[in-house]
């Protein structure tokens, strides 16, 4: 025993010296980010899959403008712009010294190419409507592009911030699906199909360089596997975590931080407005009053989500809270049904796969039962849903989350699946497009929100929450989701 004491002392000193000499461990510069769905390809200009933007937006590809974490539209590849008096001409001044990841220079020709490609007849851009008003794109000089509109569009700068409007090079446009080449702070390295995509920092990036050296997106669809991957440390951050039931456990664990924010996903109980008896306003209002939003949020979403009374995101400054207009009131719902002369009502309720629809659907069916409406649930997979509900409109009710930002304009579409297309609403939207004054635009947006709430086009349920989990030392992740993206440009590890 006596012999070992000096030894212990020596080793203790050695350890102390060792600790003092070794510098503080440098912060990590790599990150593994979990995603539920794998992108089918990596070209955001040809396909609507959210997973594409979740990998490439702001990381690999950039547009003339971009969304910030709080949804603001700010300059990106265009450093500034001038708008003509009549609102028909936008002159974009481009950033200097921008190069694509293959080393080629970015200039006005690339902008012209990208916009012309997106709005061409044979374009397969899923959001082609974003470019509808563009009549001409002209190159003034390598740093200047003039975009001429056929009619004023107050949303042009907003539209240009979408992932579908990113600038691509003519030489690589066709191969971006498998080998994306953009202008962003990260370049594409490798894609092991079914497993992960690797990005690394682009050394010649024109702007503020990224803090991370390497980003890996791992694709984990199964909620249990997602939970295990975070617990085991295989994944450092899971911004859209698929198992909200596990969040409490992460909250209690100091190794992790739980990030709860808002998305652009208005989750609605959509109704087939042309199909009797749903063409009757009173019946639609009755359904609205039969639904208790908070119960659905608690039951289907584990409490995450914000009730909405119209098709608009609550975090948007122009939002009006209209939830009272269709407040939970089963007695009123029954009265409205009586007034409409409807009894013994049976409606189909067709549900796509996401849990908000499947779990929410069960709760809604029970609530409708309370007021005497019998909802027959059919579970569909996405492709079937797109065919039966979206295309053939063979449904009465369905639950779906509309995840595109500022998509109230879909209510102006004639043939859209819930078949609203009201002329008065369309007039509001037309006026909105012609308006560039921010105050006036806000007023029109509010008018539009009230109009679709008054007409009870759909039953508006809740704004989908963004529930993520990350290692507590990771900073700079987006809290909200103004567009579907995992912007890694500001992300870093704390020491």
């Amino acid at each position: 025993m006596n012999v070992s004491k000096p030894l212990a002392a020596v080793s203790a000193i050695a350890m102390a010296i060792g600790l003092a000499v070794v510098p503080a461990q440098a912060a990590r510069t790599d990150i593994a980010v979990g995603m539920v769905l794998e992108p089918p390809n990596l070209d955001p200009t040809a396909g609507a899959a959210a997973a594409i933007d979740e990998v490439v937006y702001a990381n690999i590809f950039q547009g003339l403008t971009r969304f910030t974490a709080d949804g603001e539209v700010v300059p990106d590849l265009a450093k500034s712009w001038d708008i003509s008096e009549d609102g028909l001409t936008y002159t974009f001044h481009l950033q200097d010294g921008v190069t694509f990841h293959d080393g080629s220079a970015f200039d006005a020709e690339d902008v012209k190419f990208s916009l012309d490609r997106a709005r061409a007849d044979e374009s397969t851009n899923a959001q082609k409507a974003l470019f509808a008003e563009i009549a001409d794109v002209a190159v003034i000089d390598p740093q200047t592009v003039k975009v001429t509109l056929s009619e004023p569009n107050g949303s042009l700068l907003f539209n240009m911030a979408w992932g579908d409007a990113v600038i691509v090079a003519p030489e690589t446009a066709e191969t971006n699906a498998i080998q994306p080449v953009g202008t962003g702070p990260f370049r594409f390295d490798d894609w092991v199909k079914g497993d992960h995509v690797d990005l690394s920092k682009y050394a010649d990036y024109w702007g503020e360089p990224a803090k991370l050296e390497k980003v890996t997106f791992k694709f984990i669809a199964d909620p249990t596997a997602a939970f295990a991957s975070v617990m085991a440390g295989d994944v450092d951050a899971f911004p859209n975590f698929p198992a909200p039931e596990n969040l409490e456990q992460f909250k209690a664990d100091s190794r992790f931080s739980v990030i709860v924010g808002s998305t652009e996903g208005e989750t609605i109980l959509a109704m087939n407005n042309k199909k009797p008896p749903l063409d009757n306003l009173k019946v639609r209002q009755a359904i609205g009053h039969a639904i208790d939003r908070q119960t659905i949020i608690d039951g289907a979403m584990f409490g995450y989500g914000t009730p909405i009374g119209t098709h608009f995101a609550p975090h948007n400054p122009a939002y009006v809270d209209l939830t009272e207009e269709s407040a939970y009131d089963p007695a009123l719902a029954q009265e409205l049904l009586k007034e409409a002369g409807v009894s013994d009502l049976t409606l189909s309720l067709k549900l796509p796969p996401p849990s908000y629809a499947r779990r929410g659907g069960e709760i809604i069916a029970a609530q409708l039962k309370e007021v005497g409406i019998n909802a027959e649930i059919t579970n569909l997979e996405w492709a079937q849903w797109l065919q039966e509900v979206f295309k053939d409109r063979n449904f009465d009710l369905t639950i779906v989350s509309h995840t595109e930002p500022m998509d109230i304009g879909i209510y102006a579409r004639d043939d859209y699946y819930f078949q609203y297309g009201d002329p008065d609403f369309k007039a509001i939207m037309d006026e909105l497009n012609d308006t560039t004054d921010p105050d006036k635009r806000t007023e029109l947006l509010q008018q539009a929100q009230r109009k679709i709430a008054d007409d009870a086009v759909n039953a508006y349920l809740f704004q989908l929450a963004k529930t993520g989990v990350a290692n507590a030392k990771i900073k700079g992740l987006w809290e909200n989701s103004p567009t579907q993206a995992n912007d890694m440009t500001e992300v870093y590890w704390e020491d």
Binding site: E38, P40, N41, A46, G47, A48, A49, D121, E122, S123, T124, N125, A126, Q127, K128, A129, A177, I178, V192, K193, G194, D195, H196, K218, F219, I220, A221, D222, T224, A225, A228, S229, M231, A232, G233, D234, E381, W382, A383, Q384, L386, Q387, E388, F390, K391, V400, H402, E404, D407, I410, D415, Y417
Partner: protein, 316 residues
């Protein structure tokens, strides 16, 4: 023998042809359009139509079937609608995960099952026998995905010895690859090993009751000598049949385990392709699997014929 070979070969070709029609028609009938799936619910109808043209979906059914069939005969399986890469490349990548996983699981299951089955049969009605019976009963009863989750909890979440899932790719090194496949292989192997051990045991017990075993014993061989030299070899036939069946089951049927460990294998590829209506991938992969099964059956037929002359004779 040549006639027998030709007969079996014709049967193989006809089966493949029939399968191609069935697979094509079934994928044609299921509702859902790949173009609408890719473009989402905010898409411009004109852009969806343009994509349908680009993918060749506006062609008549017969034209598309023939194009697919002729392409396959030339070794061209078409291009995935969603991934935009050749199907053969996709399948090639996935086989590099599924096949090693299958072989790994099969090797583990055989390594566990053979000794367990032999010990159990040789020491019938002893503690060792009851232990094997009990353990295999449990192994058959436990669903492999649940066992997989337990493995993840123990070895990934708590001990951090393994990743909870994923596959780094063989580029990351052979050992890294094998490490990623270890937990899935164990999860897959357990129920298979249990079945195999039970088959091994009962087959061996049956053989031990045969006359030739009694003869061998009468000649003066010890119990273990008869077991090793005579009984085991004959007992192996049903066991090998099961191993063969397990191989094709594991190759295509590992999908649940692939999901638990998010491995990029064949099963998950088909599953994903079905949900995305990437019909060309669904068709080509299913046809390849059909081919694999038919070809294995063909080889087994040939092997039987080589072993048993009676089969070669023309049926009267």
């Amino acid at each position: 023998m040549i006639l027998y070979f030709l007969r079996r070969l014709t049967a193989l070709l006809l089966t493949m042809f029939a399968a191609s029609i069935v697979v094509f028609l079934v994928t044609e009938i299921i509702p859902g359009d790949p173009a609408s799936f890719m473009m989402g619910i905010n898409a411009d109808p004109q852009a969806v139509a343009a994509l349908r043209t680009e993918l060749g979906l506006d062609q008549p059914v017969a034209t598309r079937y023939l194009a697919w069939l002729l392409g396959m005969l030339q070794g061209d399986f078409g291009q995935s609608y969603t991934y935009k890469v050749p199907v053969s490349e996709l399948v090639g990548d996935r086989i590099m995960v599924s096949l090693p996983l299958t072989l790994y699981a099969l090797a583990l299951s055989t390594l566990i099952a053979f000794p367990a089955g032999v010990i159990s049969a040789a020491r019938r009605n002893t503690t060792a026998d009851f232990a094997v019976i009990g353990a295999t009963q449990l192994g058959v009863a436990i669903p492999n995905f649940w066992f997989a989750m337990l493995l993840v909890l123990a070895f990934a979440v708590n001990l951090h010895w393994f990743s909870a899932g994923g596959f780094p790719g063989w580029d990351a090194g052979f050992l890294e690859g094998m490490k990623a496949l270890t937990l899935p292989a164990v999860a897959l192997a357990l129920p298979q090993a249990s079945i195999l051990a039970r088959v091994m045991r009962s087959s061996l017990l049956d053989t031990l009751d045969e006359d030739f075993v009694r003869t061998a014993r009468a000649k003066g061989l010890t119990r273990s000598q008869t077991l090793w030299r005579h009984a085991l070899r004959n007992a192996l036939i049903p066991v090998l049949t099961i191993v063969g069946l397990q191989f094709s089951f594991l190759l295509a049927g590992g999908i649940i385990i692939e999901n638990v460990f998010y491995l990029p294998g064949l099963g998950r590829l088909v599953f994903q392709a079905i949900t995305q209506r990437d019909l060309i991938v669904v068709r080509s992969v299913i046809i390849l699997l059909v081919f694999a099964v038919v070809a294995v059956t063909f080889l087994v037929d040939m092997a039987y014929a080589a072993a048993d002359p009676r089969l070669r004779r023309r049926p009267r």
